[in-house]
Amino acid sequence: MKKAIVTLMILLVAASMVFAAGTKEEGTKKEVTLSVLWFNDANESDVFLKTIDDYLKSNPHVKLDLQIVAYSEYDQKLKLMISGGNPPDIARITTNTLSVVVDSLEPIENHVQDVEAVKKEYLPSMVAFATNKDGKFIAYPTEATANGMLVNKTAFDKAGINVDEVSKTWTWAEWETIIAKVLAANPSMKYGLAVDFTPHRFSTLMYQWNGRFLKEDQSNIGFNNSGTVATLKWFKSLHDKNLLPKSVWLGSENPAELFQAGLVAGHIGGSWNINTYNKNVKDFEWKAVRMPKGEINSSVPGGKFVASFKESKNKNEAFRLMAAFADKQHNELYSRDTFNIPSRNDAKVSYPSNSADFEVFLEELKVTPAYTANEWKNTNLSKVTTYIREQIVEVLLGNITAEQAVANVDSRGATYFK
């Protein structure tokens, strides 16, 4: 009897230990540190952490190892991490980077039940960017971006020009006349417009003049077309007339700094500049206006995403966090605090200021042809953009003609479309 009681006691103790262990396993999930690679346009990393704070509090087993890299170094760093077999668990990615790393990204459908339902939550242009050649959805869109024009309203007012009114329908020829008056009325202002030193911003003007990078079927580079040649000649003429500062495209001075210093009347840049100027510009009134018309009106759509990689070590936790970050509530918070256009269809963002400026950028997006996004999605185009930028500068310097530049680009670019 005594032996039976002892045996029973041992069994009870063993069973209680087993159940106790099970409870502990369920109650405390395995601790995971997610490596996150990030770059900032302004304050996005801070806002990301603030936005996702509630998720981290309710999932204390998840920790973040956030590595912030300068955008100029970002692509190279990410590519080396991927090729070295050590990609981050989560990375912030632009449309440009997306085209480069697309084949290394883990499809979302491997981690959600109904990927079509997820896709429907986002703007169609963002879904198009985040869909790979096999039709798989490979990144969560976090913000939509567009290129547009921001102007020094105070300078236009000083010249007696109602920029809200004239910009509704202005053409580039009319802009030249108007900007001459603005410069005359503002002696300390030296230039009419600064355009970012990137092929992406140049393409905004190129699309307005019906230019293209690629053949219509994207089978090859197609920079040699009448629209692109016209854009190059016109772009050079604006520099020669001193309407655009040479120091940006020839000397890589920052156009945002020139605008903030009151040296230029306008800046063609990305929608994220609203956030920057909102914080930094105190000396004059500025606003977003519609860009003048060339042959057509056009912007260039873009966006930012978060994505995980096929070789990431903590994909499951990474996808849980990304799904939370990209949901309606978090996307609205993130868009509001970073002054960005939300990527979701259902997001309703009330910005503390500058709502009208975002509307202008959205208007630009609405008139932008679909092929602009498709061109910038092309992986091979991303390999030749630096050469394109160099050839544009060679035209501005007068070293080669516009015709020679487009021929050179087509010759070099064709090697990537073999």
Partner: protein, 296 residues
């Protein structure tokens, strides 16, 4: 069979063992990557694709690559002017500051040496603030005084001059220190004898200083030449290789082709050519300058 004695071990294996850590580091970080680079230069290889052997195709493409040869000639021009001017300037500084007899000599040595302690990125950012067309300090001052700004970084020729000048400013202090050590190693008796013999200062410089400084000058020449061929950070920050291709050097082109155009094989071929050029220059410099004479 001859047995190893204690003396043999000390004379043969022990020195090699002491050198082993250095040899391992050198092999891991220099020799093996160089061999790997040579292997890659015969392939077509992107960051995310498997390498494909293409023989000498990368090298034959290089022959007709206008941008490569433009960056090659830019590198030569930059190297020629930077190295020769650095040598003259560093030698002048060393001659002025090596005697330990003038008041404030150590302070000036430190002042000239400090720029070489800074990273080239810091130097580049600082000088871009100084030389910028619109936002630069010098042009601001010129305009305040009623003048026009100078296109230090946006005029093709001036941009190269600016880059060379800043490079000399940033590096001369380092070579000055090496030359000061060389000058201080020259026996003072030789100068005393020359003074007694009535030798003029230029004659003393040509007949005593230069010959006895030959080996130090050779070290400076080789180090400065190699550094000039590898110049990257300063140019990337100050001009990004522009305007156009005006200040773009081979190293920038290698980086662009490898990481932006995703052609690791072709970029490796460029690197191999660069390595051969640097090696040739070094050998020639040793041949021309290395005939040591005894002045005992």
């Amino acid at each position: 069979m001859k047995a190893h004695t204690k003396g043999n071990f000390h004379q043969t294996a022990a020195p090699l063992l002491f050198l082993l850590p250095n040899i391992l580091i050198f092999a891991t970080f220099i020799i093996i990557p160089a061999i790997q680079g040579l292997r890659m230069s015969f392939t077509e290889w992107g960051v995310f694709t498997e390498p494909r052997f293409i023989g000498l195709a990368n090298f034959s493409e290089l022959l007709g690559d206008e941008v490569f040869w433009k960056t090659f000639s830019n590198t030569l021009v930059y190297s020629l002017f930077t190295v020769s001017l650095i040598m003259v300037y560093a030698l002048m500084l060393a001659m002025l500051l090596h005697k330990n007899s003038l008041k404030g000599e150590k302070l000036f040595r430190s002042l000239f040496y400090i720029p070489s302690l800074l990273s080239m990125i810091t130097v580049g950012i600082a000088w871009r603030f100084i030389l910028g067309d619109e936002m630069g300090i010098i042009n601001y001052l010129l305009r305040t005084m009623g003048g026009d700004g100078v296109r230090w970084l946006t005029d093709s020729k001036l941009a190269m001059v600016s880059i060379i000048t800043v490079s000399i400013w940033a590096q001369a202090g380092y070579y000055m220190v090496i030359l000061i050590a060389g000058l201080q190693a020259i026996p003072t008796e030789l100068y005393e004898a020359a003074t007694i013999d009535g030798s003029s200062a230029p004659r003393t410089f040509v007949s005593i200083t230069l010959p006895l400084l030959r080996s130090t000058l050779l070290v400076v020449l080789v180090l400065a030449t190699i550094a000039s061929f590898k110049a990257y950070e300063l140019i990337a920050v100050m001009t990004k290789g522009g305007p156009g291709y005006a200040t773009k050097f081979i190293v920038q082109q290698v980086y662009q082709v490898a990481f932006l155009e995703d052609r690791l094989g072709y970029a490796s071929a460029m690197s191999i050519v660069l390595m051969i050029i640097i090696s040739l220059f070094t050998v020639v410099q040793f041949k021309v300058s290395g005939k040591e004479k005894s002045y005992e």
